[in-house]
């Protein structure tokens, strides 16, 4: 009796589908019934984008034609999938895509972990990374739309094995500028700026207000990618000011305060 009643309540949770997903490595449940693929480095998606990439979404990295730093982000996203042992499909118009795959970063490991890792086979990946070149813009949009539909379908039917693409990114590299170096601490180490242009609203109507939308990209010892918040969070009238709350989202030693 009691179990029958509990099944009819509107608060009962569909555990069958949740259980099926929970065993997939690198997958976790987010708000509003979304399923996230959190990255190995907690920097970008967990702290900045609020949980990871929702499965079935599309992330767009808009490159700066003069700087190759979009590849840095692409490598990081791809390696996150590999770390979670999820299949990775990489499509590229370049003549030698294998050369690019050879440059994927590996997670930062301690010495003991490293030896362990070397004994294991090369893992498989999760995401779809596509370098799109299309003759007609409408054809391009159509193919992206079909890709999205396929992703959504796989989520429902193939139990979310494919990665989500999530957001629109807009990345810009700025040339060295003496004035900028005065304004920004650690300017010498910065290789570019990342601007989060749009964040998906999945299963919700409430817009995601990020704590900051512009970040500096730093490479530490040419090994780890560090993102630091550059601008302040929008001031919330109801909860006071957001000043003095600036912390580094990457966990690195210091944030970059603006000197004015």
């Amino acid at each position: 009796m009691a179990t029958a009643r509990s099944k009819t309540t509107s608060f009962s949770r569909n555990l069958t589908s949740a259980g099926a997903v929970s065993h997939i490595p690198g997958i976790k449940h987010g708000p509003n019934g979304t399923i996230f693929s959190p990255p190995e480095s907690q920097t970008l998606t967990v702290k900045i984008l609020g949980g990871g990439f929702p499965l079935g979404s599309l992330v767009m990295i808009m490159e700066d034609a003069e700087a190759p730093h979009h590849l840095l982000l692409l490598r990081t996203f791809m390696s996150q999938g590999l770390v979670h042992e999820q299949p990775l499909l990489y499509a590229s118009p370049s003549r030698d895509p294998r050369a690019f795959l050879g440059t994927l970063p590996s997670p930062v490991l301690s010495k003991e972990e490293k030896t362990l890792k070397n004994e294991q086979e090369q893992t498989q990946g999760e995401s779809i990374a596509v370098n799109l070149i299309c003759g007609s813009p409408w054809r391009g949009i159509c193919s992206v739309q079909s890709l999205l539909n396929a992703l959504a379908l796989l989520i429902l039917q193939a139990l979310l094995l494919f990665v989500i693409h999530v957001l629109d990114f807009w990345k810009r590299f700025q040339d060295e500028d003496k004035e900028m170096s005065k304004l920004l601490t650690g300017y010498q180490d910065m290789v570019g700026l990342l601007h989060v242009h749009k964040v998906a609203q999945i299963n919700t109507q409430v817009p995601v207000i990020l704590e900051a939308s512009t970040f500096s990209i730093k490479l530490q010892r040419r090994r780890s990618l560090v993102l630091e918040r550059l601008n302040q969070a929008p001031v919330d009238g109801s909860s006071g000011t957001s000043y003095n709350t600036s912390t580094s989202c990457s966990g690195s030693s210091k944030a970059s305060p603006l000197d004015f």
Binding site: N32, W138, R139, C142, N149, Q205, A233, G237, S238
Partner: protein, 253 residues
């Protein structure tokens, strides 16, 4: 307070049988919450209206989750026949027939909508029908950039507003064209629409407690003297999970 006054205006907007309502938004500020708001009103217990929803942007479960938080169960309503959902995310309108292009996809879609509307709108039962299209820019994508096909489709849909007294609610994006010459669809839509609602971000940038500003242009508003007049209203909004707060600019500290 303000919210009530605006809600009252909104009620008038939503009592717009036989009209075409256009919602325009942009990347920074989504206008989808207006669609949810109007859907909730149409599907409320007090009204007996039927909603025909043509989805190009999101799947059913996306709307189901959002509307559940607003107090509407779309699964139950669709079982009762009050909510009809067409998932059109895979629509590809143009077929190559003997080298020539046909627009069979959109024609088929119109026939589907027409059929659904005719079945519901029998002369003895005076039930209001609302047709909602959640992303017109994706209709254009499905037609591979042929905005004239989309405009034709919308004109056909518009005939239903007089034929069976339907309300047509359309969502489109304002900022998808790089130059003004290409935005014929948006201009045509503004002519077609009786009510235009525009959601835009604040000029001062992103804020946590004000999500954007809304401009409502009602071309056929009836004033206190019973005359038809154009009416423009501006207010700001904050979107929450189970409601939307509307307030006049500067009325919040």
């Amino acid at each position: 307070m303000n919210n009530e006054a605006i809600e009252e205006d909104e009620t008038r907007v939503s009592d717009c049988a036989g009209r075409v309502v256009l919602i325009q938004d942009c990347v920074e500020t989504s206008g989808a919450f207006l669609l949810h708001h109007l859907m909730k009103r149409k599907l409320s217990r007090e009204s007996s209206e039927i909603v025909v929803f043509v989805a190009f942007a999101h799947p059913f479960y996306h709307y189901d989750r959002i509307l559940k938080k607003l107090g509407c169960n779309l699964v139950t309503l669709s079982q009762k026949g009050r909510f009809i959902f067409f998932d059109m995310r895979k629509l590809d309108c143009l077929d190559e027939v003997g080298g020539g292009r046909t627009k069979s996809g959109l024609v088929e879609l119109f026939h589907k909508i027409h059929k659904a509307a005719e079945v519901i709108a029998s002369p003895e039962t005076k039930i209001c029908i609302t047709i909602m299209i959640d992303d017109l820019s994706l209709v254009e994508v499905a037609a591979q950039g042929s905005s004239s096909y989309v405009i034709d489709f919308l004109r056909y849909c518009r005939t239903l507003t007089t034929e069976v007294g339907c309300t047509l609610i359309l969502l489109n994006h304002e900022d998808i064209y790089s130059n003004s010459e290409e935005s014929t669809l948006n201009l045509e839509l503004e002519y077609l629409a009786d009510i235009v609602m525009k959601a835009k971000p604040l000029a001062t940038g992103l804020a946590a407690d004000v999500h954007g500003q809304l401009t409502v242009l009602n071309k056929r508003s009836i004033n206190e003297h019973g005359k038809i007049k154009k009416r423009i209203q501006n207010f700001q909004f904050k979107v929450k999970e189970n409601s939307v707060e509307y307030f006049y600019s500067g009325s919040r500290t």
